[in-house]
Symmetry: C2
Subunit: 341 residues, 2 copies
């Protein structure tokens, strides 16, 4: 194997500032990371008793977290919720719940779904249209979608689940549903047995380093996922912080409003520089320009990392700046870009 | 399914004080948890910058941790080390690295190995003698063993690996090797390709709530485990605390001596009450008595939880008390026991 030189390899995921600093060694610090869809206004971390670190995570705390997640996400009960150290680690386990066969991932979307399905033994590929999900043993939809924010209505997804072959499985990755429109989630529909919903904790709560996520599924599938994870998959600090955050409805409401405001400002900053936003959610915006490679480099040299896409060279995804200095630097940098639109 | 009443169900794992309080509702508090083999003198938790919680875990930090673990454990390099959120979650993934067939687990030992091997599709069972490992597609040895402290010499394990069928795999769970004799570990032997060593972080460093563990394996197997875990399996705080702790050789040396002293004191407390210790490591002692069920209950009513075993009714395992009040309560409670030995 020949290692690719650093500047030829696309950044496969957002959030890797170490790699950004190699790509743009002269950039001003601090680097501004807009390459993820993570809320820049994190849930305040409570005081953590030391026994959260020293003792094995407690079964009662795990059950309590599952119950609070069920309430927050609209799942039938805590028994339908499987806490995990992030949803990423769940992807191959969930893909393995379907009988091996064809896996169809509604694309373009988060690339790890195809990889995880292939790893579980499926013939996995992205499909461009929901009709391509028909007859797949494993159908995967990210809703709202990353990076373009495309939304499938709940009725369309339920119809998709009804069309699945026997033992087929519909996986709905609701990583960004916390900022989605009401009534879209399928978390309340998992009891029918062939739907698994994934919910990310770290994105909306701004705590991606904590590693916490959930699968919502019928009891039989939930039990198989629990067996795969074992009894102590979620760390003690994540159990405590997750429970506090998921129970805090006031914080969630305030944060949804705050993110909606912030993303409007992002739209204005980009529009003011003549850049066309083509989609997104309250946590990120996708823009389209023929000059995307030049804009990526221009921003990088200004110490601002955005997300580019290996197979969609005209796209860039922007996350939200954290504070006023970051907003000012972003506005100045995009304003100074003259690469065309 | 009929749920078992609480007092009839054996405690499957140590460390669940919630369950202990249900079993012994009148016991004095604070409950003393001696039911695990976790070091009661934890590595001091350093100040944690908030971006360990807010940002996605960094690839460079993960690589650095793997390198430090390789040095601490004697693995050939960081490329041979796969950090994970605890070794528990690795068990089914490691079992799936072997071709499906017969899995032999040298017993009696930690029950999760048979469960994980069965989950990976093997015909899994414990074997009482190392000769029973021969010709198994998956051979599993816990070394030093839990709960009896039995040790297999390195040469015997290497011979076992040589005897495996093609593509067979030897898994050596070295969860308690940090307090084992020098020269026993197989972490330096994984390059031959059919050996995977598991190392637990939380037990020796006393930070079981953090969820951190490692697989040490040849590069091909390590790559398959990395693919299964995905890019952000280990939380940011665990990356930082793990790196600090694994690099701290002075703390490790002091702690080994301290644990050796403490376990001697435990032996004396038990011997003083006429209780026979039959094995263990510096992190726990196994004792044998016909009166084990009565002693378990006696200690439980005194607010002391020890580990009992569903299939070895005459065994109890004792972890180390944390401080002088716990030592005094333990000595008083075992001294007051008159169940016979």
């Amino acid at each position: 194997m020949h290692p690719a030189p650093v500047d030829a390899a696309p950044i496969q995921h957002g959030g890797d500032l170490g790699r950004a600093r190699l790509l743009f060694p002269g950039a001003p610090e601090p680097f501004i990371d807009l390459s993820t869809g993570i809320n820049p206004y994190p849930y305040p971390i409570p005081q953590l008793p030391s026994d959260l670190f020293t003792r094995l995570p407690d079964q009662a705390a795990l059950d309590r977290l599952a119950g609070l997640a069920a309430q927050a996400y609209g799942a039938p009960s805590g028994a339908h919720v499987v806490p995990a150290p992030g949803t990423q680690i769940l992807l191959p386990m969930v893909a393995a719940l379907a009988p091996t066969g064809r896996a169809a991932v509604l694309g373009p979307t988060y690339a790890e779904h195809v990889r995880a399905a292939a790893q579980a033994g499926h013939r996995a590929a992205e499909v461009a249209d929901p009709t391509g999900l028909r007859n797949a043993e494993l159908a995967v939809v990210v809703n709202p979608n990353n990076p373009d924010g495309r939304v499938l209505p709940r009725a369309a997804l339920l119809a998709c689940a009804s069309d699945l072959p026997a033992h087929g499985l519909l996986v709905v990755d609701e990583a960004f549903m916390d900022v989605g429109a009401g009534g879209l989630s399928l978390a309340g529909d998992v009891a029918r047995g062939n739907i698994v919903v994934l919910r990310s904790f770290g994105k909306f709560f701004g705590l991606a380093g904590l590693r916490l996520g959930f699968a919502v599924a019928g009891p039989a599938l939930a039990e198989r996922l629990r067996a795969g994870l074992g009894p102590w998959a979620v760390a003690g600090p994540a159990l405590a912080i997750g429970a506090a955050a998921l129970a805090d409805e006031a914080w969630a409401a305030t944060t949804r409003a705050r993110l909606a405001q912030a993303v409007l400002r992002l739209d204005q900053v980009l529009a003011g520089a003549g850049l066309e936003v083509v989609g997104g959610t309250s946590l990120f915006r996708l823009m389209h320009t023929q000059a995307a490679p030049e804009l990526f480099d221009h921003l990088g040299r200004a110490g601002i990392l955005v997300r580019r896409f290996a197979h969609q060279a005209t796209w860039l995804r922007f996350g939200l700046p954290a504070g006023e200095p970051e907003w000012q630097r972003l506005a100045a940098a995009v304003g100074a870009f003259r690469g065309g639109g």
